[in-house]
Symmetry: C2
Subunit: 156 residues, 2 copies
């Protein structure tokens, strides 16, 4: 299968799961070494999980199947351009390449305003719509210091 | 309990779970109507899930406990300033307020470079480190059109 075929698989999955009432019309497929290692679709409303966007679910699926927390060398095919949560998740998962079909403009046209989120994240914390405050907790510093000095810690 | 006490609870949880080998030194607590409705801690390495940051896990926990996909009116207390994935998740969950202890600068000092991610997300797609390509798939448009015309869809 080529890139277009994998992307069409993601789109077909988005149609099936949308019709099944799982959530929004989004799905994603992850491919590594020439085979599908993860699939996901939006399960926000049916799964009661606002973090269950297609890309996040696909990453969890691939990592569980492969028994790893890093997907270096893997390619994601998403039926739509990722929101900032999903894009950051793609970076954290070390996915190497991304293809998508619908754009954020297409998503905005049917009511998914990811552009607002991208704009919010680019603002300084004190200018965002979300009220946010830093409180000084001395113990928080000691936890970080302990992490930095742990000889057997697993970095990620 | 007041804001500082809830935040200290999150910090204490981060210490316990870090020592238990669950993952990075991060935890979060979600409070609604005066009680803790969700807790989470970093489980990236132990859980083989790069999306299992403290805030995301806490949101999933609260939504599961409350049987909902929206946490409007809830407050999050995080042991550290959220990364972009977690901050966007907080917006998607409609959490109303955020308190945190350690800052992204503190996190960077022990090797967690969230600033790189914030910078990447603020760039146009074609200037990001992640190779990314839009491919036109006609079926993708028809899925979005079908969503827009579904009378029984659940918006989120």
């Amino acid at each position: 299968m080529g890139d277009v075929e994998y992307l069409k698989r993601a789109v077909e999955l988005s149609r099936q799961k949308m019709r099944a009432g799982e959530g929004g019309p989004f799905a994603a497929v992850i491919v590594k070494d020439g085979r599908i290692v993860g699939e996901g679709w939006n399960r926000v409303t049916n799964g009661n999980d606002p973090t269950a966007h297609a890309e996040v679910v696909a990453i969890r699926d691939a990592c569980e199947r492969l028994g790893t927390f890093t997907l270096e060398g893997a390619v994601m095919y998403s039926s739509c351009e990722p929101c900032p949560m999903c894009l950051a998740a793609i970076y954290w998962a070390r996915i190497s390449r991304l293809y998508f079909a619908n754009t954020t403009a297409d998503a905005a046209a049917i009511g998914f305003d990811d552009a607002f989120l991208y704009a919010e994240l680019a603002l300084p914390a004190d200018e965002r719509a979300l009220p946010c405050e830093q409180l000084d907790v001395e113990e928080a510093h000691s936890v970080f210091a302990e992490w930095a000095s742990m000889p057997d810690r697993i970095d990620y």
